[in-house]
């Protein structure tokens, strides 16, 4: 029965991973931005959740109602401030790597100065409780995070497939020129998508805030994990990100119990290496044009 237990733990984290990865892959898919600062936005939302909990006693899950819209606006502001300047760069994708790396350092420094380097963790009561079903142990916090993640991903799917804005986002992802031709305001769509991607980062940050302790530099732990998730699925593919997230989180859970927690991060690096060797475009990705 032990493997069922591990599978459950892996899948529960997979939900949060999927929310993180979907934001990152959406941003790449629509705008070709490789957002190395994605995890710093996750942390920013985690801090926001932390302070809402500490000072106003707001439950972290309820605080999504604040963090998601705030991060959406932060995303749009960051997009408008930085990216139109490099829009016509002949090496746009490469430029975004440098630019977002700079943003990550700036965010880390600012958060370090403002929030100090102390480890933080939001501690709602369900953060340490669990359900016991038969022999199976299900941590409440992770279960709630999974449920919220599933709801968020369903909402994302409804937005993308059921609304006009979603239509313009999907159209821009598939072919920017074609989107422009049929009358999509591509610029506005890109700003909205960046906002949406950062809002998803915000949602995952809020969920992570009661699952893992964090401090301003801990975003570096998440960067390789997220890259592995989205590269496995194929950069820019949402279903790929979902499958990558669930798959790798389960594998990582098994690695952790069989080989020990030290090896867990290696799972993601190893996966990244293997994918790039065997199938660089990922499961659902299309090869990147030069």
């Amino acid at each position: 029965m032990q493997w069922v237990q591990i599978l459950i733990l892996g899948l529960m984290l997979g939900g949060v991973y999927a929310v993180m990865a979907s934001g990152l892959t959406l941003i790449f898919g629509v705008m070709r931005i490789v957002n190395l600062a994605h995890a710093t936005f996750i942390l920013l939302a985690a801090y926001l959740t932390f302070f809402l909990y500490e000072f106003l006693d707001v439950d972290p899950i309820l605080s999504l109602a604040v963090t998601v819209p705030v991060m959406f606006l932060v995303g749009i502001a960051v997009y408008l401030l930085l990216f139109p300047r490099i829009e016509n760069s002949p090496r746009f994708v490469e430029s975004t790597v440098l630019l977002t790396f700079g943003v990550a350092l700036f965010m880390e420094g600012t958060m370090g100065r403002t929030f100090t380097g102390t480890y933080r963790l939001v501690r709602p009561t369900y953060g340490t409780e669990s359900f016991l079903i038969g022999d199976l142990y299900i941590p409440k916090g992770q279960l709630y995070a999974l449920i919220v993640s599933a709801v968020l991903l369903l909402l994302l799917a409804a937005l993308l497939y059921g609304t006009r804005i979603g239509g313009s986002i999907r159209a821009t992802m598939q072919n920017r020129t074609a989107a422009q031709i049929v009358g999509v305001n591509v610029r506005r769509t890109m700003a909205l998508s960046f906002g949406l991607g950062i809002a998803l980062a915000g949602a995952s940050g809020t969920l992570l805030s009661f699952l893992f302790p964090f401090f301003p530099a801990s975003h570096w732990e998440w960067v390789p994990i997220m890259l592995a998730l989205v590269v496995l699925g194929g950069l820019g593919s949402l279903q790929g990100a979902l499958i990558g997230a669930l798959g790798l989180s389960v594998v990582a859970a098994f690695v952790m119990t069989e080989l020990g927690p030290t090896w867990q991060p290696m799972t993601f690096f190893l996966a990244l290496f293997l994918i790039l060797l065997v199938r660089p475009q990922g499961l659902y990705g299309k090869p990147l044009e030069a």
Binding site: R164, R170, N175, T177, A178, Q180, I181, V182, G183, N185
Partner: protein
């Protein structure tokens, strides 16, 4: 007053020199024009400068007297001017039907969209059979039909088509050109850019010849085709080769 009027339009990319140099042009309603000229003459650039993808450096683009030269592509489109680029920009992961429906993106009335879809499927019956297939898996000719069908879904007043025959077998291209030739009868003005002079001019009522970014010849398609100046201006450089091999005028 012509539907669309260009006055001394110059345009180019980035900081590079002008590709088109002071082009004047008048496009009448429900009339088709084929723009021909050797490689680098500025044919595609001219279309881009009209549809808002590229903004003219100087000169005016007037649609019904309104200068549309600084508008975004979606704003130009909303005024009834649509552009079909040569790379058949379609949405590969969407079905044929979804691709067509995207053509009516600016229209929100579902009934109107359904009507337009029905009309497009009548013009391109193959697409009805393929309605649920992903557009990325279609053959080149079918993809071209999707792109043209999608353009019709926009209910354009002017449709600008850049090299529709690119990469198509001659027979398929012939079929595409027959359809394009029928657009003027549907009340739509056509600006067609084509490398193949004879095929292009046969599908249009008027011809416009560009060379080095300037308009050098204009007139009824049939007259242009036999105009000695065309041979001189356009085929001059390859006249021997073209005449010798019985080539139909492909540059």
């Amino acid at each position: 007053m012509p539907l669309l009027q260009l006055e001394g339009v110059t345009a180019g990319y980035g900081s590079a020199p002008n590709i088109i140099n002071g082009v004047d042009l008048e496009v009448e309603a429900a009339h088709s024009y084929c723009i021909i000229g050797p490689n680098g003459a500025g044919k595609s650039t001219l279309l881009r400068a009209i549809c808002g993808v590229l903004h003219p450096r100087s000169g005016r683009v007037l649609l019904d007297g309104e200068d549309i030269g600084r508008l975004r592509p979606d704003q130009v489109l909303a005024r009834g001017l649509c552009f079909v680029p040569s790379d058949r920009a379609l949405f590969p992961a969407m079905t044929v039907r979804e691709n067509l429906e995207m053509g009516a993106f600016l229209e929100s009335d579902k009934r109107v969209i359904a009507e337009r879809l029905e009309r497009a499927l009548e013009i391109f019956p193959v697409l009805r059979e393929r309605a649920t297939q992903r557009a990325g898996t279609l053959s080149g000719g079918q993809q071209q039909q999707v792109v043209l069908g999608r353009a019709l879904m926009m209910e354009p007043r002017i449709i600008m088509i850049d090299e529709p025959s690119l990469g198509l077998a001659p027979q398929i291209a012939q079929q595409i050109f027959r359809t394009i030739a029928s657009f003027a009868d549907m009340g739509i003005s056509v600006l067609l850019v084509e490398q193949n002079v004879r095929r292009g001019l046969n599908a249009a009522q008027s011809g416009i010849v560009l060379d080095l970014g300037r308009k050098v010849l204009e007139g009824p398609a049939g007259t242009i085709l036999t105009d000695p100046r065309l041979r001189e201006l356009y085929l001059g450089r390859q006249a021997e080769a073209a005449a010798g091999s019985g080539d139909d005028g492909r540059a």
